[in-house]
Homo-oligomer: 379 residues x 2
Amino acid sequence: MTIYDDHYLGGIEERVIRDTETARAAGAKVVGVYCAFTPKELIAAAGAIPVALCSGSDFPIPLAEQHLPRNLCALIKSSYGHAIGDSCPYFRATDLLIADATCDGKKKMFELLGRKRPLYLLQLPQTSATAESHAYWLGELRRIKVILEEETGTVITDDAIRKQIRLYNRLRTIVHEAFLLNTGPIPLLSGRELDTVTSVAGFELNLETRIAEITAALGEIKERDKDDDYIASVAGRPRILLTGCPTTNRKVLHLLEDCGGIVVAMESCGGLKTVGGLVPEQGDPLKNLAANYLSIPCACMTPNKARLDLLLAIIRDYRIDGVVELTWDGCHTYNVESFQVEECVQATGLPYLHVITDYSENDTGQLKTRIEAFLELLN
Amino acid sequence: MTIYDDHYLGGIEERVIRDTETARAAGAKVVGVYCAFTPKELIAAAGAIPVALCSGSDFPIPLAEQHLPRNLCALIKSSYGHAIGDSCPYFRATDLLIADATCDGKKKMFELLGRKRPLYLLQLPQTSATAESHAYWLGELRRIKVILEEETGTVITDDAIRKQIRLYNRLRTIVHEAFLLNTGPIPLLSGRELDTVTSVAGFELNLETRIAEITAALGEIKERDKDDDYIASVAGRPRILLTGCPTTNRKVLHLLEDCGGIVVAMESCGGLKTVGGLVPEQGDPLKNLAANYLSIPCACMTPNKARLDLLLAIIRDYRIDGVVELTWDGCHTYNVESFQVEECVQATGLPYLHVITDYSENDTGQLKTRIEAFLELLN
């Protein structure tokens, strides 16, 4: 199915860049964001264009290491290196940044990044378990709303937020639907395809078009369960749940599938960690946003039992054969939490593999050997 | 001056352990704490005995690495290894633990430590810059106060808190006085001695006695500026400010002085980072505690400009010749912040040395070479 190859995504990217240029010429601001905790609905409700800047490439890292410790995770260094090296067209287009105090590395990196662009930090509480943390977070969204109004010159009405909540809910729903196509006995998408079909890379504007594209793609994909060749191509491949750090760099995802596995579910930002729960469309829109976003079970939260519950649900619903946890080397939150994830997975009787790596290709051979051995275990 | 040697400290430790056993036999609870953010006044006001459990020894680390990533800092691994290996008499004596969500490594480690002891986590906001963060933190202290009341069966009155605030203020004041003896042209204490004289290691009870001991010691030390032998012994030694991670392990402190420097000031937990500001004794005692503790300029805070201001004040007041920053390898917050510290120090024209190490002795030779070269630069 060549429609979901690089050419396909490249076409979308070109269109989005063109649309963004038009919108910017008409005065729209571009707001860079780094984490799943930033409610893009608020940005869009101000008539601005959100763009996710978390980075997956290796090349800006040496530049970043001139300012940042080498033992920070690749994701943080890559994002920062792109920014200071002016090597990311998306960053270049930003007028301002909205970031979240998630992990230690990011929050301290943001202090330096603020020299490059106006940067507003959402003070994320470190738990979602208390009423006080929700009130605190709601206060942060109120503060950032005022900042967005000042920066864009647009009053953000409740109706405008509600409209964006509905739109982003539709996006979440269609992405979730893509994942759900893998709950049956025949997984209908590989992890690579899930990543491509569901990805909303770059500037987030004209989401209607993107939703329509994903819907059309899923329409075709649903036919696969009548396609004997397709069924034969996935038969017997171990069904993998990939969890852990954001799969900003695809090397582990690709290795898992190149070695014969099929990644039927991803519990990560942009995957099942963030698309499962919709923002309520009735009631105070800002409160609803606050409650939904604070509930994201990122390892930067303590406690983070919701992630274990989510993993158990995915293991059951997606007929998982084995769980692979990806930690970008230097990410303490996911790395420490992996101890509990391993316990949780092993209690289900499933094998668990913990991969700690970075964006370089240096360890590809070694990873391939480990992954092959793991997949063999599942057969 | 042999009075401040190990024998001296050993005697104090023996007495404190004896007193603690007596108090425990009479029903007092022992509450372990890990960070400077935990207001010990509250614990003491409940009639319980606070004990700091941050650890400086290397030997429990391999055990900790069975559960924790190897690339966490030595301080976290040592604390955890002591706890699960039952190798720390102070931990063994604890009835419960009060911890703070400071850095990623600690907060996630505490999730596992809670299996070993009842552990209550103070949800620290990641900034002290807003009224909301202060209100949130005050709420946390209120919550922990109720927990302490339940655990100890003691109602914590405002008067009891005020009494402890006054007592701990006296301790802070006398420790600060010890530091201030190093502001003159002749530094009256080495860093080693400051560490010994001011240290309140172990169980914190009968602080009156400890304050009297420190006061007596300082009385003797003040005579040094009339002692020609002493003056000759410190003449010409470069005056070092040691900053960064807590000096739980003394290897860098000792190396600096063994190589000819004199550490006249330490900007770290228990040092000038925490003793400079007193808790106001008038007004709502819990609010006063909250405001004082949240203002500690730890690198886990963002922004943390107060630390740079403090460093500049110390450089000026303590006639500093060079600044050494200690980072326990794996501590992202201090490590990333070191970029700004270096800028800040270099703007004053002073040399800056960043030492990243762990608790092992493996790099002693290499560190010695670097430190000698740095000290030579200062002469």
